[in-house]
Amino acid sequence: MSDDQRPRVLLGDLDPIARLGMIAVLEEDGVDVIGEEERPEALVLVTGRLQPDAVVLDLDSPSARALAERVRAASPAVTVVLWAREEDAMEVLDPGAPTPRRFFSGLLDQLRDELRAVAGRTAG
């Protein structure tokens, strides 16, 4: 994978252990984890500054959808992925899409595919 096709991902409010795991798995897959920010206000600002391909948030958090919408409002080009700790659900909010696409099985492979696709779109 050439450098300009490596997905650039920012990690949001995933819990600390899940964040460590996400970094380990994504970096093995050739994804650039360009930062982590669990504070909502700061996450919105950092997303605006770094313009990642995707931001990964915690689907189990009570404020997951509200935070996703704030990130999208401030950075409309970014894809937001909501990831459940138990790996039984994932939601992908594409730029401009009103509703998420939902996934319920084979989630790690789906995540890899989504990040690859999003990097391909932004590189192209």
Partner: protein
Amino acid sequence: MEACEQRSRDGLKLFVVDPHTIYRRGLAACLEGLHEAQSVGQAGSVRDAWADDTLFGADIVLVDHAMTGGLDFVAAVAQASGAAVVVCSSLCGEDAVLAALQAGAAGVLRKETLTTEALAGAVRAAASGTGVVTSELLHELLDGLAPDGYEKPPAARLTDREQQVLSLIANGHPTREVAQQLCYSERTVKNVLHDVVTKLNARSRSQAVAHAVREGLI
């Protein structure tokens, strides 16, 4: 004593059994960062764990007992390897915690609130032969022992997903319909409901619904 000295000289051999890949890798990454750690093995299922020889040399085994065969594994692995077993799971209701401790777990950690520091502390405690049950889980156990008139603290907030599921249940939809409507599997809906019942300290779904409506949670 000899065993302790041996451990401190050689470092701890750790093993993680958890079916959730990202979380398991996170646990392993955190454990690998401990200076006491000599090795960290991993398996995504009970079957894979038994097939891995390093399991039998482990000093401490971290297990999500909610996975298939998980509770039996807790009991069996302590016997087979002599390791201290620490349960690390999202399934941390009163019954689940008691079941884990009765199966022989030296400690129980709740994934939802686990930090890297708490994990390190639990592993060090288990290595020194001490058990660890985090204070919030102890409260949960003690709540179960509280007299009927005891007023429980206000419930935690529900996640969006929990609110959606509980609202539909409150409106009389059966689990299957809730699953269809939200595009979840029935298993997911049941898991969410189980979590809600636990979170609200309720004894049943209907009690959870009543509580949630009363407290304005849905």
